[in-house]
Amino acid sequence: MINRRDLLTRCGMGLGALALGELLAGEAQASRAVNPLAARQPHFAPRAKRVIHLFMNGGPSHLDTFDPKPALRRYAGQILPGDTPTTERPTGAVLDTPFKFRRHGSNGIEVSEIFPHVAKSIDDIAVIRSMHADVPNHEPSLLLMNCGDARQIRPSLGSWLVYGLGAENQNLPAFVSMCPGGYPIQETQNWQSGFLPGIFEGAYLDTQHEAVEKLIEHIRNGRISPGRQQAQLRLLSELNALQAGPAPDPALDSRIQSYELAFRMQTEAAEAFDVSREPQAVRDMYGPGVQARQILIARRLVERGVRFVQVWHGAGQPWDAHDDLEINHRNLAGQCDQAIGALLVDLKQRGLLEETLVIWGGEFGRTPTVELPKEGLNAGKVNGRDHNHYGFSMWMAGGGVRGGYVHGATDEFGFRAVENRVHVHDLHATILHLMGFDHTRLTYRHAGRDFRLTDVHGNVVNELLA
């Protein structure tokens, strides 16, 4: 048997290549030998191994992006026939889309003119036009989309997946959440680990910054060598073990793991987040701007085995177009369309798309009716749409998803999902299925009960599977 000291001597300074957690588990941690981030097999053969979730926070309008409704033009300016479902704010007459739709791909799927690059990959994309959620408010809808529950402290999808699958790369956080300029609303709850061990929580990065030391605070330390930091962590682990009581404490175990992760992040992160290392042609393909940079970072991360990468469009709720929808959506789509299109092409060229699930969408969609002017809320303008959880669109690509396919439909005006409705719980069940999990069996015992992402809900949408 090799003792730790031998191992260190033999490996010299190459210790970083080994999982320090496993090393320590071999000796100092003795009985607590399970590395929670060790890669694990799911319930059945997965279609996807990694996820990139492009989160259009604020709620992009499906009617102006992926769900064209000619009736909007016919009824523009008129009151909606039938009832107008209640949303967050009062809405009035039907508002037509300012954008043109064109058919793309071998199945002629219609996509709005503001997403021309995404449209080019439509044959790899399954558009879900029948999403629905529970309430027309950001906070609960964000939590529902991320954590499967609108209000209570529950683990996020990314945390569940890392809990279930472990990490492919022990030197980077397994779950990364990027948002330029600050947090989306609900902040860190969107990537919380809830009652799962803290090691499964998403690591947040403010991607408005480029330098790695600004991207990840305190990532660099010029006053101590990596070798000595390793020696510090070894001693830390030994001293912790000397003090630990007889009963294992998961919080204390997680804490040493979080130190080890932090140590490894220092070396790997700098390289992974530096998009300047990409050839110029690749950078050109993604285009300029912060969206392109963070989406390119997302590709670099999944390429390195990061399990779940969430890319938020920006702080707050940028897609929340209560007014000036045309300007808002054209701008925002303009910021990310080229990069998303490039991502799909790039992943495909690298053979990564097959096992990388790309998800696009917000927390809900928007109303076909115009939001009525209200002081302090929409600048008195009458050119935006309110939140709409009754029906909206999302799309998925790669990772075992059936490309060139449209699933479900909203009503004539796009207000409610009516055909093949897909609730957020169903989406979660489907994502877990693609990752190799039976969503009813991926559970965690907490407070005397087995919890799961989909609670008591959710059905896998088989039509979405390739």
Binding site: T86, A150, T188, Y204, H218, I224, P226, L239, Q243, F263
Partner: protein, 915 residues
């Protein structure tokens, strides 16, 4: 904790969002029907005994395990079966009657939970006792129950109740259960131990004196005890010594600081307004409110007076309470939307003081608690009748408007849809004789008095529970800001009531309450479970330690963590009060974290990383997360570096000076550290443990630490590769030896390196380096930029040298390696030239000198320089070093071994957790 069903809470939100009251009729009727969520009277359909059993046992079980699919009238209702109303239970669902009165076998409700007829709930079979209780209740029913099916509407999801909710009934001081013979314990312990005995569980042993003292210090002051204090208490851990320590800490100013911060979490305190358009972002005098709260806790202001001062201090004619209005006025500004500001005030008052989520009733009657929308607007009227006034040197105050406003209900919460008017007044559910309109001015003083009243069933309970939660790590009721129907019922209801009654009887004294709790055996028990077999059972039946069979291990919160780091470093400044200071800057002053500037809109990452309370809204309890960012902070932050250096220096000084160096470390060289058999290393390790962890190190720890100190050197220890490779100096090139003699420039101006404070420097002349360029001196005082290669391998050196001035004779750059070779030479005058060495090879530690000289005269010789050194070995770690990016002032030296060791102690679990 009970598993509250996710779907139920979803529903609440949903209704919040679009519960619509259409038409005036309904809205108007609210004035007369203020008993929203009114009780169905269960005793009409079953015996009193059955009704009581139903309310106590059956309904909570249904709520916990069944409501998520079987309540409300929503689409999500499964099998048309509602279990949240009597009628629903009596009628049953698609599969037939759920309950056949008196007939357990025929009742699907029972067979389903026994996994016979159906398998309900699908997530997992319920424990047998729950199923047995359902069966027992069914057996108690008779045909009278069937009438409920006809006579009652299936109704909204108003909860079935036979009596008022527990928290709406005034607490009754029941006598504590008797202590078993031979057990001499206080009243609190008699409640706790009776519950443990009922569950066949035993309390843990008493905590060790050291653990207990540390726990007490953190709980009361947020600071660790010094080594000397610990040693003294270990020498005399008697009850009387403990009691003296309790009293001493309660009297310390740090007590007020610690408990003020808890209150500020509830008060969503910040030093700024949140998002604003154009006005100033700061609340310049917010800190006066913070200091007032500190003073109130330090002086043990009776809690009832504390409340009145904060809600209606303007009406007390006591200038000392003037800052207290900050409780209401220092919230987020919501772009000055008056409705949202009032909503925030209603929320902070009702959740904070009453544990009620009244803000839920803004748009619709509260779906679970008896809070009709009319009540919300009765409170709304109180605040709408109050005007905010700015004051010199104080936070804004609220004063009554000359003419109070009679509020109207806003339908759906929409001010554009005014409904019927309601009087200003208190919550119906807390008004024993029916609603009484407020009569004086805005009614704010009456509101304050109605809250701060011994007759209010919630106020004392809610505060007592919060105090318990801070001390015990979990409230007796686990949802400290929700005592409504959906909140967690208390684990020890009689104890909670008893504490609340004693609290009032003690004149609402928070200190007396805390004293009572910390003197209990329950508080003083060990965090390690009893070592007698009982623990295994306890782990099974009560994994969450609701019954208090051991103390709860707690992680330090942000303030306690940072303050402890500063205390270990010996730098903590204990000044009390004053304007806020930044605690996130690299050179932040070592004030207690309470005094940190709190920017509501852009809370710095440090606050978020360590789970600070979100200052946008009332925070009932802080999260306890673990993230690699916390670890990075401790590994690499300036605070961690500085504290490690100070702790190392302290341990050295203690060794040198013996015990006298520092009064707080008087015992630092006590016991083991002063052990004559120790060598110097061992003694210093021991001293360091005393400062960092307040205790003697064990032999094993000293051995590990000494081994760490003595380990072989890491070749990169003195020049970590992450260290900035650039240095700025002057020197001259010796053509004979092909070497450069490099001297670092001695003076840093804040943005440039030069020979001294003035230019030209008498000795070094004009030599200067700044970001992007510099200036050479006389020919033997060239400006020299030094690059120390952090890694070996091939590299490409590229850059640009520019000399903008027309005058003078230009400059020359020589690129020289420390291996004694000139890699290139470039000269320029009034123009620029590109620098390129495409194929240099360096070894780690090699130095490159970029020597710029004046080529004759040093007038007009300002130059611009960019340099980029790129590693070109495709198999090595990519690396680019740029002169411009890396430009820096003085760098602190690498940590020595002792400093490294000190940092480890600050990172240890023992440092971060309190047992």
């Amino acid at each position: 904790m009970l598993d509250r069903s996710p779907m139920r809470t979803c529903r609440v939100k949903r209704r919040c969002a679009y519960w619509v009251i259409v038409g005036m009729t309904l809205a108007a009727s609210m004035q007369f029907n203020r008993q929203a969520g009114a009780a169905e009277d269960a005793t009409r359909y079953m015996s009193a005994e059955a009704a009581e059993f139903f309310e106590r046992t059956v309904r909570p079980a249904l709520a916990e395990h069944c409501y998520e699919c079987h309540s409300g009238a929503d689409d999500d209702l499964q099998s048309e079966l509602r279990l949240d109303t009597l009628a629903g239970l009596a009628r049953g669902g698609a599969a037939g009657p759920a309950v056949v009165p008196g007939n357990v076998d025929e009742s699907l409700l029972v067979s389903a939970v026994r996994y016979e007829a159906f398998e309900m709930p699908p997530a997992g079979q319920l424990p047998t006792p729950i199923a047995d209780n359902l069966a027992k209740w069914v057996a108690m029913l008779d045909d009278g129950f069937a009438a409920a099916a006809e006579q009652l509407p299936v109704g909204e999801s108003a909860p079935v109740q036979s009596g008022p909710h527990w928290s709406f009934v005034r607490p009754q001081a029941v006598d504590p259960p008797p202590a078993p013979a031979g057990e001499s314990v206080g009243e609190i312990d008699r409640f706790v131990r009776a519950a443990l005995r009922n569950a066949n569980l035993a309390p843990a042993a008493a905590a060790t004196p050291r653990d207990l003292l540390r726990r007490l210090h953190y709980d009361l002051t947020g600071l660790p005890p010094t080594a000397a204090e610990t040693a003294a208490f270990e020498a005399d851990p008697s009850d009387s010594a403990y009691e003296r320590e309790v009293d001493r800490l309660l009297a310390a100013p740090q007590f007020g600081e610690r408990w003020a911060r808890f209150w500020l979490d509830l008060a969503r305190y910040a030093d700024t307004r949140g998002y604003v358009f154009q006005e100033s972002r700061d609340y310049p005098n917010a800190w006066k409110y913070r200091d007032w709260v500190v003073g109130a806790f330090s002086g043990d202001m009776p809690y009832d007076k504390f409340i009145v001062a904060q809600l209606a201090g303007d009406q007390l004619e006591d200038p000392a309470v003037a800052p207290a209005s900050g409780f209401l006025t220092l919230g987020r500004r919501f772009l000055n939307n008056p409705h949202d500001i009032i909503d925030d005030r209603i929320d902070v008052v009702t959740r904070g003081l009453l544990g009620l989520t009244v803000a839920c009733a803004r748009c619709h009657d509260h779906k679970y608690d008896a809070i009709p929308t009319a009540d919300y607007y009765s409170l709304y009227g109180v605040f709408a009748s109050s005007a905010e006034t700015a004051r010199e040197d104080l936070p804004p105050a609220l004063v009554d408007k000359p003419e109070p406003v009679t509020p109207v209900v806003f339908l759906r919460g929409n001010p554009g849809m005014p409904g019927p008017s309601v009087p200003r007044g208190f919550l119906t559910c807390l008004s024993t004789d029916g609603p009484r309109p407020f009569e004086h001015g805005s009614g704010r003083l009456e509101l304050a008095q109605a809250i701060a009243s011994p007759d209010n069933p919630l106020t004392a309970r809610v505060w007592v529970n919060r105090v318990w939660a801070h001390l015990a790590g979990r409230g007796l009721a686990a949802t400290p800001s929700d005592f409504g129907v959906r909140g967690e019922p208390p684990t020890h209801p009689e104890l909670l009531d008893w504490l609340a009654c004693r609290f009032i009887a003690d004149g609402w004294s928070t200190k007396a309450l805390i004293r009572r709790i910390v003197l209990s055996r329950t508080y003083r028990q060990s965090s390690a479970p009893a070592d007698n077999g009982s623990a295994a059972l306890a782990e099974n039946v009560d994994p969450e330690n609701r019954l208090l069979w051991h103390a709860r291990r707690k992680r330090l919160d942000l303030e306690a963590f940072r303050d402890s780091v500063l205390a270990a470093a010996g730098s903590l400044d204990l000044t009390v009060g004053g304007p806020p200071v930044s605690i996130v800057d690299d050179d932040a002053p070592p004030r207690r974290s309470l005094y940190g500037f709190i920017e509501r809109q852009n809370l710095p990452a440090f606050f978020r990383t360590f789970d600070f309370a979100n200052p946008n809204t009332h925070t009932a309890a802080r999260a306890e997360t673990l993230s690699p960012h916390q670890a990075l902070y401790m590994l690499n932050s300036p605070l961690a570096m500085q504290a490690a250096c100070q702790l190392a220096a302290r341990s050295e000084a203690a060794l040198r000076d013996g015990q006298a160096d520092d009064p707080s470390g008087a015992g630092a060289i006590s016991a083991r550290a002063g052990d004559a058999s120790f060598n110097e290393t061992q003694a210093r390790v021991a001293a360091m443990f005393q400062f960092a962890l307040g205790r003697a190190a064990t032999d094993a720890e000293i051995a590990k630490a000494a081994e760490f100190i003595a380990e072989g050197r890491d070749p990169l220890e003195d020049s970590p590769p992450t260290r900035n490779p650039w240095n700025y100096g002057w020197g001259a090139f010796d053509p004979q030896s092909q070497h450069v003699d490099f001297h670092a420039l001695p003076h840093w101006t804040g943005d440039a390196w030069q020979g001294g404070p003035a230019l030209p420097d008498p000795a070094l002349g004009w030599v200067t380096w700044r970001a992007g360029g510099g200036h050479p001196g006389t020919p033997d005082h060239a400006a020299v930029l030094r690059y120390a290669a952090p890694a070996g391998g091939p590299c490409r050196i590229a850059g640009r040298l520019a000399h903008p001035a027309e005058q003078g004779d230009g400059v020359r750059l020589r690129l020289v390696s420390s291996r004694g070779s000139v890699l290139g030479e470039w000269a320029v005058h009034h123009g620029e030239t590109l620098i390129s060495v495409p194929d240099a090879t360096l070894s780690a530690g090699d130095e490159l000198y970029f020597l710029v000289d004046c080529q004759g005269g040093d007038a007009y010789d300002s130059f611009e320089l960019s340099v980029e050194i790129t590693a070109t070995d495709p198999s090595a770690a990519p690396r680019v070093d740029r002169f411009a990016d890396g430009f820096h002032g003085p760098l602190p030296p690498p940590l020595d071994r002792w400093q490294q060791l000190a940092q480890v102690l600050l990172m240890s679990n023992e440092f971060m957790y309190v047992d």
